[in-house]
């Protein structure tokens, strides 16, 4: 009995420690952002609860940085990346899961091979292609968005994830629908898609997180501040407020509010284990 109590106590102690480690960097940013001008943010020993508690830094950085625009840009890019991934992955997954056709194994191997090629190793030619296709912000905002979205519009992880979801749907469903005169496209749309809704949700959520946090590609292609996504805009804070850590901290905290809300509302998808091996951003 006592042993069990100590066991539980030690487990809680360890997990509380891990939670503190996990939250500490953000809490320290919040603490810094809430400190007033007269307070020394480098003070030893460090002060956690601001003496001169103020929202001034949040308001100040909000007025200087178009956060709503960055939210909007990130949202447009992430939302369209998700939609295209869902459609293209599940379209491609259908024949790979269910049909027999010439060259199937070759196409399968081709898709699989893309998993082994890291984006970072081929990003230079991708950039040259995007330039050639005029998918950059200097040719217009819509084209700029497309340049951020299209290179990530489908990936092999998504195709394989959807294929696995289709494989476990009973074939009889399709056959019955076909006999009832359902077209092949409608079988996909009205039977396979609804039946794999949980997998679609997982794919959507992880694609969204990946796209929302993407930094390398937007920082390569974007030249126009009107198209900055959140990560690029937040990184820019460092240059704008070089030594003003109150503003940098406040801006960083503002920038993560949407994704924290998203995470809390969708938490069951993240921490239930359904996502095992799902797409990593």
């Amino acid at each position: 009995m006592i042993r069990k109590f100590i066991d539980g106590f030690l487990s809680h102690l360890f997990l509380i420690f891990m939670s503190v480690v996990s939250l500490f960097p953000f809490l320290w940013l919040i603490s810094t952002a809430l400190k007033g001008d007269s307070e020394n943010i480098f003070q030893y020993p460090p002060v956690f609860i601001p003496k001169e508690f103020t929202f001034k830094n949040f308001i100040g950085v909000w007025h200087q940085i178009p956060f709503l625009l960055y939210f909007f840009n990130s949202f447009i890019v992430a939302a369209f990346t998700v939609i295209l991934n869902l459609i293209f992955s599940s379209l491609a997954a259908y024949p790979l899961a269910r049909m027999n056709f010439k060259g199937k194994n070759f196409i399968f191997a081709l898709v699989l091979s893309t998993i082994m090629i890291p984006f970072q190793a081929i990003m230079l030619p991708i950039y040259l292609i995007v330039l050639k296709l005029h998918l950059v912000d200097s040719y217009g905002l819509t084209l700029g968005y497309l340049g951020l979205i299209l290179p990530f519009a489908v990936n092999a992880f998504g195709i394989f994830l959807m294929r696995q979801a289709f494989l476990i749907i009973p074939k009889e469903m399709e056959e019955a629908a076909f006999i009832d005169g359902c077209s092949i496209f409608n079988i996909w749309r009205k039977i396979l898609l609804p039946m794999s809704a949980p997998t679609l949700a997982v794919l959507a959520i992880f694609t969204f997180i990946g796209s929302w946090g993407e930094f390398l590609w937007p920082s390569i292609v974007l030249t126009n501040k009107a198209l900055y996504t959140l990560p690029v805009g937040v990184n820019d804070l460092q240059g704008m407020f070089s030594a003003n850590w109150r503003y940098i901290a406040a801006g960083s905290i503002i920038s993560i509010i949407p994704i924290i809300i998203f995470f809390i509302t969708m938490q069951k998808y993240f921490v239930s284990g359904q996502s095992d091996g799902a797409v990593k951003g």
Partner: protein
């Protein structure tokens, strides 16, 4: 069953994905290889065939070796920790004590937050008169130049990668732990195994494939590290945090040295290929079986 679709139908379904993958994957892949054998130094619009000139220049470049070495060191710092520690956390979480739901969410939180913000938060803690140095001094040591001292900078960056990875790998372990048969633990317990021994004799052998999977996944992502470095150090001080991808980025997009960057890309590609092939053929073959 009779085939109920026309012959061209499968290709129609594959078409959109095929177009995207061709334009943004296969063509760039072959172009990377092509560019690495071309010389752009005279005329950027009219490259000439250069044979292996770029590669020999690459393998005579100290900076490139430095980048390879840093990437390798980074991998060595990050991977063992990410293979072991998240497993320990997952074992604690798996003990079905009260409040695990909250613990899980909090420990997973850094995974969903943008790496840029995490890197900024750490940069702030790493400041010369920052909070980490306060604790260091509290224990009687001299303050560390976390991001300014060539001895520590790469390690400091690695800490950020580790911090952001723990929750992700914890979830992978957690879903694998559910599959470990309960009676094995009971058997170990009747044999008199203690808590730690129980996990060493049952959990670890049982999860070996998953541990290996985590090793390969975290190796590949360590080889691709970029954002942390871009936000915190830009490869400095004195190139001590310049890794392969940062080096390629700098060469390609700041120095506009297409051939050199492409040759380095091909090297990176080959290194990552080794890990990916191991991963796909050994640990994830179930998912990718035709």
């Amino acid at each position: 069953m009779n085939i109920y679709y026309k012959k061209y139908i499968p290709y129609l379904f594959l078409l959109p994905a095929f177009v995207i993958l061709t334009v943004f994957f296969f063509i760039p892949f072959f172009q990377t290889i092509l560019l690495s054998f071309q010389d752009f130094s005279n005329d950027i619009y009219n490259p000439v065939f250069a044979g292996i000139k770029n590669y020999s220049a690459l393998f005579h470049s100290k900076e490139f070796y430095g980048a390879m070495f840093n990437t390798f060191m980074f991998l060595v710092m990050v991977v063992p920790f990410l293979a072991v520690f998240p497993l320990i956390v997952a074992i604690f979480i798996n003990r079905k004590i009260r409040g695990i739901g909250i613990y899980k969410v909090i420990i997973y939180l850094p995974v969903v937050v943008s790496i840029v913000v995490v890197a900024i938060a750490f940069k702030w803690m790493y400041a010369q008169e920052g909070i980490l140095n306060y604790f260091i001094e509290l224990f009687g040591f001299n303050p560390i130049g976390w991001l300014t001292d060539t001895k520590f900078a790469l390690f400091s960056v690695a800490l950020v990668t580790i911090y952001k990875g723990i929750g992700y790998y914890m979830m992978i372990y957690l879903s694998a732990l559910i599959g470990v048969p309960k009676d094995l633990y009971e058997a170990a317990q009747t044999d008199g195994a203690g808590e730690i021994q129980k996990h060493l004799t049952v959990t670890v052998p049982h999860l070996m494939p998953v541990i290996a999977l985590v090793v390969t996944i975290s190796s590949v992502s360590a080889l691709k590290v970029f954002a942390e470095i871009y936000v915190m150090t830009k490869g400095g001080p004195l190139n001590s945090t310049k890794t392969m991808v940062y080096y390629i980025y700098e060469r390609a997009f700041e120095n506009l040295d297409l051939s050199f960057a492409s040759a380095a890309s091909v090297v990176l590609l080959l290194v990552i290929l080794v890990f990916s092939v191991i991963n796909i053929t050994c640990f994830e073959n179930e998912r990718y079986k035709p």
